[in-house]
């Protein structure tokens, strides 16, 4: 497995639990390009977590294939496979008897990295996930929920895996901290460019985090696999439309910014002004609140770039 990012392919991947009616994951086929975040989302019973755990063989495949950079997961030694995949779970699962540094160093230590390497790497990762280096010597019981999940992320990244599996990593964290962790995770991902499979039941989180979203319906069937924009604007059926919500048009607006629109020349006469990186959703909210029909888009230093009418936002 390469240390950069790996392409992940589900090829007719199926999981049937013996003695249970129907499949948990049903002939799932999708490709996650290297360096992208694929979010698995859907109602409970959709098999998202099962699909995730098929990848690191915590759950064995019933039939079909999963390939990482072209090599079937069954061809790896299972221990070697798991050590080369970062794994983050909702309850974090930090080892309570180990310091933060020892937790982060778990896999590198198994891989025979020297102590000095682990020390350095853990300091580097703590900084990357936004924690002070002084956290290295603390125990998990001394951390808040958000801090624990940051350490969990750092631990998963420790051996620089080309693929990360994240199972509702921010699910148990309060909304304000969750939003901050999501933002920081996206910033981090821009630096590290891992291939990520991310499970959530929260469609808003999926839209925010995912480069692509796979919506699974009950029985582990793939309903739609597409970019957030496509899913919001062109849901393939009623199930997907229902799942993304009645406000999907607004959610789609939240994905685009004023800077992406064609602007008409600036003829400003006391119109509201908004920076170019404002989302269309926020711009529309402002126009409604101020009862206006148009606004002026300005650059970061405040120079007017052009005018946008209300109907331009809704095109």
């Amino acid at each position: 497995m390469a240390t950069e990012a790996a392409e992940l392919v589900f090829d007719e991947a199926t999981k049937v639990y013996p003695g249970r009616e129907g499949a948990a994951v049903d002939h799932l086929s999708l490709t996650v390009p290297a360096g992208e975040i694929c979010v698995l989302v859907g109602p409970s019973g959709g098999g998202k977590t099962t699909a995730l755990k098929l990848v690191n063989r915590l759950i064995p495949l019933t039939s079909g294939y999963i390939r990482i950079d072209g090599r079937q997961i069954g061809d790896y030694d299972v221990t070697e496979l798991r050590r080369s995949i970062g794994y983050v779970i909702q309850q974090v699962g930090l080892f309570p008897h180990m310091t933060v540094e020892a937790n982060i160093g778990t896999v590198p230590k198994l891989l025979g990295r020297p102590r000095s390497w682990i020390k350095e790497r853990s300091a580097e990762l703590l900084e990357l996930v936004g924690l002070d280096p002084s956290y290295a010597k603390r125990f998990p019981a001394q951390l808040s929920g958000g801090e624990r999940q940051r350490v969990g992320l750092a631990r998963a990244l420790a051996a620089n895996p080309p693929l990360m599996l994240m199972d509702e990593p921010f699910g148990a964290i309060d909304p304000i901290v969750r939003a901050r962790l999501q933002d920081e995770f996206l910033r981090l991902q821009r630096e590290i460019r891992k291939t990520v499979v991310f499970v959530t039941h929260d469609i808003d989180e999926a839209i925010k985090i995912g480069d692509r979203i796979a919506i699974l319906r009950e029985g582990g069937k793939l309903a739609q696999y597409d970019t957030p924009q496509q899913i919001l604007e062109h849901p393939v059926d009623d199930f997907v439309a229902d799942f993304v919500g009645r406000d999907r048009a607004l959610k789609a607006l939240a994905l685009r910014t004023l800077g992406e629109l064609e602007l008409s020349p600036a003829t400003e006469d006391g119109l509201p002004r908004l920076p170019a990186d404002t989302s269309l959703r926020d711009a529309l909210a402002l126009l409604i609140a101020e009862r206006r029909d148009a606004l002026v888009v300005v650059s970061a230093d405040g120079a007017p770039l052009g005018v946008v009418k209300r109907e331009d936002l809704l095109k």
Partner: protein, 240 residues
């Protein structure tokens, strides 16, 4: 019964030549303790400590192996738990008596029941400790690629330490106390001066109190030392 007690100090105090304190058989005469420390109390104390250490060490070794089996193969846990439970139920005096007929009047006659009694508490605590590891911790260990053996040595065993140490504390303290009763049969440990003191016409009060006090002191010191060891071994549980 008195005939068994030959070693260790005057069985019948010579009230005629002793201090006032001894002549009046007061509850505590420091001068007697000073004079009889070297040839009565100290040897008995050392015997008691040695017996306790050997019994707890052997008991722990056996209980640990049994617990490993009961933890690894779940179907073994109920029968093993029940077996150690039955041993614990047997009255000590009865067990000592039966063993005298088999192993004779040797120290081993006391040691065997004492070891048997430690098994129950140690077995339960070790198995419970190993089982108490949270599911999310085990899942992350598996997901990160720890083998079964690594999960045991690096995660389950260290996390079971508080429960194991708690079991060791109880086992040690109860061994110290039950070992005293063993001297009813065999002259060994601090029970000997206690039964000696009880065996004379008017009860040798200062000897009784000195030896009994040493048993209590020994139990307290052992408990404190083990709790300090527990703290040293589990730095993570001191936080927060």
């Amino acid at each position: 019964m008195i005939g068994f007690h030959e070693a260790g100090g005057p069985v019948i105090p010579n009230f005629g030549r002793g201090t006032d304190c001894l002549r009046n058989n007061h509850w505590f005469c420091p001068s007697w303790v000073r004079e009889n420390w070297g040839d009565t109390l100290q040897p008995a104390l050392i015997q008691h400590i040695e017996l306790t250490l050997v019994v707890v060490a052997i008991g722990f070794a056996i209980a640990f192996l049994l617990a490993l089996a009961g933890f690894r193969w779940r179907f073994l846990d109920p029968p093993l738990g029940a077996a150690t439970d039955v041993l614990y139920t047997l009255p000590s005096i009865a067990l000592f008596t039966v063993l005298v007929s088999i192993t004779g009047l040797e120290v081993i006659t006391i040691a065997i029941p004492l070891v048997a009694y430690t098994l129950f508490i140690l077995y339960r605590n070790i198995v419970t400790g190993l089982r108490s590891v949270p599911a999310d911790v085990l899942e992350s260990a598996r997901g990160m690629g720890l083998t079964r053996r690594q999960t045991f040595t690096k995660v389950e065993l260290p996390l079971a330490t508080p429960a194991i140490m708690a079991g060791l504390r109880i086992a040690t303290v109860s061994t110290i106390s039950i070992a005293t009763i063993g001297a009813f049969f065999i002259n060994y440990g601090l029970g000997t001066p206690i039964f000696d003191a009880l065996g004379v016409a008017d009860i040798f009060r200062t000897k009784l109190l000195a030896a009994g006090g040493l048993v209590i002191l020994l139990a307290l010191v052992a408990d404190v030392l083990l709790s300090l060891l527990q703290r040293a071994l589990t730095p993570w549980s001191r936080t927060r």
